[in-house]
Amino acid sequence: MTDDGPIGRARGLLRQALLQRSGPLTRGLLLAPGAFGLGKVPARAQPDQTTTLTCGFCSTGCGLNVHLQRGEAVNLTPATDHPVNLGMACPKGWEALAPLGAHDRATTPLLRDAHGKLVPVTWDAAVGEMVTRFKAIQVRHGKESLAFISTGQIPTEEMAFLGALAKFGMGLRDGDGNTRQCMATTAVAYKQSFGFDAPPFTYQDFEQSDVIVLVGSNLCIAHPIMWERICRNRNDPTIVVVDPRKTETAMAATEHVPLRPKSDLALFHGLCHLFIQRGWIDRAFVDAHTSGFEALRAGVADFPLEAVSEATGLTVEAIERLAAVIHGGKRVSFWWTMGVNQSHEGVRLAQSIINLALLTHNIGRPGTGANSITGQCNAMGSRLFSNTTNLLGGHDFANPEHRTKVARILGIDEDAIPRQASASYDQILEKILAGQIRGLWIIATNPAHSWINQTFAREVLQRLEFLVVQDMYHSTETAALASLVLPAAGWGEKEGTFINSERRFGVLKKVARAPGQALADFHIFRLVAEAWGCGAMFRDWTSPEAVFQILKALSGGQPCDFTGIGDYEAIDRAGGIQWPLPAGVALEATERRLLEDGVFFHADGKARLVFEAPRPLPEPTSPEYPLTLLTGRGSSSQWHTQTRTGKSPVLRLLYPGELYVEISREDARALGISPNERVAVTSRRATVEARAFVTNTVRPGEIFLPMHHEEVNGLTLAAFDPYSRQPSYKACAVKVRRLREQFA
């Protein structure tokens, strides 16, 4: 039998038609060696080069190894050698390229026409219109009638450009950022306690602790890669989670402390009291390195165990056990996130944690620290360089020496620098309401979704004479209210640096082409500066890296001094560099913590122990609104208002499409709510509909809603921490009812 005759050929064809083991469909999934230290990768995305970018979602600051073909990103994998993420990434990181290709990218400037419709215009026209309208407002209502809302999502160089342009070039007084919603509390707490906004830890501390206390932090899904670092801890650590809910992290921890919502300040004051009472404190360290001990001792004396038990709903034994665990640890680290920051008394709460770390000398040593986990990828950059609350480089607007220094380095007139800090986000909205601010410039944030008591926020934004929204997408809830939309390039389409939670600079690179006419925010600021007529002030601000050199100079002599970091290349090569690194100091370790010498940033070198008694909840539950609403992250695949994560088909499959409310079995039974039933959640401000997820992971009297759904912030109460002006998203009073009668 031969296969080359007609019969053989026919037989072959038949066999192939009947049983086809390979072909185009099989080849579609072919893998090929990736080279560059990669394993096998999809053959059609085989890279000809790779490069590492710092991720642009959260503050963890993971290195993402982007696979390039002819300079353009085709895929990515977590960077194996990166000191932050050790070869891992959460789904957002894996999908970081997907949102760039979304169909609703803003590709041209859009100006609202006479019919109220956003229509495409040229950049010249857009920037011209913006400048004309803004200047006209200033002529009528004064220079201070304009303001800006910045973000923790753009590189440091762009933030600095925006802050400098707005305040020094355009004469604005007020500008704030969405970092007000995430890190303001911690920044104020550190500044008051340590003398500078300086998170003291390095991620290695996660691996070196023997006791890890997580307060108001669902690390497993909010910062999965930091949880990875805890998984790398070889000390078999005791992990305590202080959280009203039994979260993923509470499940994975060794101890869960399910306290009543917002009773945390009482708990930590109580612990502080117990530690002082039992002599479990390092008195020598306290005397040498802190001040305010006596006042603290007197203050916390009002928090005996029984009172704390009463306030928190925890048993006396549970509190004692927690104290014993902390006392028993040799290297205890305390970590907190939004459960602490987004509170009506967040600053004092953060400080109560700092107090405990100071009293027990769990600071400045490996595996210790009073450590805030930051939210956004560049909240830390914003805290130093947004030029809103602080003058560029962590300086003080009110300090004449600081103004002189900044003016000298920037080569600008000292009088161009305002003598006071900006109004805060909420105060800017109040000023709009009062007619004092008439024009607003919003960059890379989405207040119409994210601001607390959203209905009010939207009404306020609609009162503006001219609202400029600069964003990657024309479809955000805020862009819908804009007079002018400026199309921005996104992460991966521009250069700059982020600073992560552990103070590490990481580099962003240009690995994708921005769609249409979208421009890097940096470029947009250059255009506006030229059009405004203050281009000369920024003649040295030619590129992000040129600005980085200016920022270095600004940091000189500050606790964050990074004059010793060379350039982007140096940061890239080192896998990121933490501040401080003053000029002349060699970079010896990839991981460094602060305060190892016990010297704090106040003039006397001592930390302040700060005490204040808890204040009642702004909106306690009542017979009419008997439940406390908790809000927070829904899943690891969602990021804030989801302008980006909602654009990845993969990420969309990883979170619920419909709003759900977690409610306890007890409350559900009392309200006659069956599992999966649609219910109405009502606060004094709004009603939203959601599907009931009846679960024991929330306790009776409490419900939980994920923050990512637009309608949730219709419910929340606009209450603020008095010191940080950070909104208190984590507790308001609500009621729940069934939407309709049904079978069974």
Binding site: L18, Q20, T26, G28, L29, L31, G34, G37, L38, G39, P42, A45, Q49, T51, G71, N75, T77, T80, G87, M88, A89, C90, P91, W94, V121, T122, D124, A125, G128, E129, T132, C220, I221, P224, C231, K246, E248, M251, A489, K494, Q517, A520, H523, E530, A531, S637, P649, V650, L653, L654, G657, R665, E666, S674, P675, T695, N696, T697, Q742, F743
Partner: protein
């Protein structure tokens, strides 16, 4: 519009006049990462990532009786879902295509609540149902590694494997017209690399182990797999879920109470109802001359047979439309040995062929002579019997297709009553309508008033009542305390699908009960009533079959909220 002259004062690097906007737009489109950050990469034998996964994959190949299996450390799985995204990116899957999912279990008490995220993908079963069910042999279980692989180019896109797999592992791609699934990254394992999910898990919760297949069999006999997951005794999944924590008895998947409509499979609905109508009409029609007092002559039989055959052909056409790659439908004969889909295809194919021969034999005296004519068309009754037998066998195959999925709501008893009930009801209604119409066309005596007609009407009324009653009895499950599959179906039918449900019963009662009852009471009726009754009944059965799929609870691993 205002065009700011300020923006036109700059020159580009070449010195030619150019606006700042133009320059920045040009700059924006230049990719610089490679030029500015060229990297030196160490050439290494192993992928750099191997340092993290080296201990998570086996060093040795499985011996006979062994195979590779996923092992999941539930205590380490914290729901970050990196495994899903990593699998997607490292395997170059299509937009929105995922081969791994992460579900959620929860339970416990208010004092001691528990929740557990669960990562899951293909379990590379010892007895893969996907493989058994595939009509085209597009699955194979690797004799050495035990990995269940899908041959993408062999697949015709019938999606039966997605129904056969209790764990929802094979995923249908509408765009490609085929199913694809996890192959445990066999190509990676073959060269000592870890599967994508193993590489991607930050907590090292997923690993690949070599297991003894006997071990998996024993576990499946004991029903030990994962709380909330479909029972393992059907396919013997090999994934091992490990946990040091005790699982509360009340543990449930987070999506346990969600009852939402699934896929309607319209072309399957049409195919099933039409084949059953065809077989029913053919068989009842055959009985006609003997049992019903010869309501028609040979001519009538031809009409009836032709009617049945036309429907059968239409049904086969509808079935083909259901395929993602209909051009390869002919491959469906390959799976005869194991797949009920193959058997169904062959049975209905034979039904059409023998039916044609029977129809031709009825008119053979009018056909010209051709070789073997006597042999082919001489024995009409033989072909009639054969066609009836393969037709009924075809309906049996249809029943078994769903019974073989081992889903309790599709079990043979229930599916059998439904499918053969449809066959009977539509068969009677069709024969009644055709006979009445034929009689009227020939100006014969009104068929519906005849004894045979009345017998058919009575028979129709009884069978229709029984079937409708059986269907309606489902709603008693709405009172179940437990959220059984029956309650789920009843919930979906009474909520999301309540309009369809209402029309199903309106059509069924009007066509199968009211119309025959009126005719019986009036002692006859116009042939139009019989035709109308048939049309209503066809509509009703189509809607019933639509809900057979649409309201069927999915079988899958514990899911998250969705």
């Amino acid at each position: 519009m205002i065009h700011s002259p300020l923006l036109r004062l700059v020159s580009d690097s070449a010195g030619s006049p150019s606006s700042l906007v133009d320059r920045l737009l040009r700059e924006q489109q230049t990719l610089t990462a490679v030029d500015r950050f060229a990297r030196q990469h160490d050439q290494c034998d192993q992928p750099a990532q191997a340092r993290y996964y080296r201990d998570l994959i086996p060093l040795e190949r499985p011996r006979p009786g062994q195979q590779y299996a996923f092992e999941v450390d539930l205590d380490a799985c914290t729901g970050c879902k990196a495994c899903v995204a990593g699998c997607h990116s490292l395997n170059g899957l299509d937009e929105g295509e995922i081969w791994r999912t992460v579900g959620l279990l929860h339970g416990g008490t208010a004092e001691a609540p528990t929740q557990q995220t669960v990562t899951t993908s293909c379990h590379h079963c010892v007895e893969p149902a996907c493989l058994v069910g595939c009509p085209v042999k597009a699955y194979e279980k690797d004799p050495v590694t035990g990995v269940v692989r899908h041959l993408d180019d062999q697949c015709i896109g019938c999606q039966y494997c997605t129904l056969m797999c209790p764990y929802d592992a094979p995923k249908y791609s509408k765009q490609k017209g085929i199913v694809r699934k996890c192959d445990m990254c066999s190509d990676r394992l073959a060269v000592g690399e870890a599967p994508a999910c193993v590489q991607a898990c930050p907590n090292q919760a997923i690993r690949v182990r070599v297991i003894d297949q006997v071990q998996a069999l024993q576990a499946s006999e004991a029903g030990a797999f994962l709380p909330g997951a479909p029972a393992p005794d059907h396919t013997v999944p090999t994934t091992m879920y490990r946990s040091a924590r005790a699982t509360p008895l009340n543990t449930l998947p987070a999506d346990f109470y969600s009852a939402s409509p699934g896929h309607g499979h319209i072309s399957l609905v049409i195919m099933l109802v039409l084949t059953q109508l065809a077989v029913g009409a053919f068989c009842i029609g055959l009985l006609g001359p003997t049992w019903l007092g010869s309501p028609g002559s040979g001519g009538w039989s031809v009409v009836n047979a032709a009617f049945a055959l036309a429907l059968a052909v239409a049904a086969i056409g509808a079935a083909t439309l259901h395929l993602g790659r209909p051009q390869y439908a002919f491959r469906a004969v390959l799976g005869l040995r194991t797949s009920w889909v193959s058997r169904e295809a062959v049975a209905f194919g034979l039904f059409a062929q023998t039916g044609v021969l029977y129809a031709l034999s009825l008119v053979s005296d009018r056909l010209p002579a051709f070789p073997a004519k006597a042999l082919l068309l001489g024995k009409g009754s033989l072909w009639a019997g054969a066609a009836a037998a393969v037709g009924l066998f075809g309906v049996h195959c249809s029943v078994m297709i769903y019974a073989a999925t081992r889903r309790s709501h599709w079990r043979a008893g229930i599916t059998g009553v439904k499918f053969f009930g449809t066959t009977l009801i539509l068969g009677i209604a069709a024969v009644t309508a055709l006979t009445a119409a034929t009689a009227a066309a020939r100006r014969g005596s009104p068929f519906l008033a005849s004894a045979a007609g009345r017998a058919l009407l009575a028979f129709l009324l009884v069978t229709a009542l029984l079937k409708l009653g059986l269907e309606a009895s489902l709603f008693s499950h709405l009172r179940d305390r437990q959220h059984t599959v029956w309650k789920r179906i009843a919930l979906v039918m009474s909520q999301d699908l309540r309009t369809v449900t209402a029309w199903r019963f309106v059509a069924g009662v009007t066509g199968g009960v009211v119309a025959p009852a009126l005719c019986l009471l009036a002692g006859g009726g116009a042939p139009g009533i019989a035709v109308l009754s048939l049309l209503l009944l066809i509509t009703g059965e189509l809607l019933e079959r639509y809900m057979f799929f649409k309201a069927a609870p999915a079988s899958r691993m514990p899911g998250a909220l969705h």
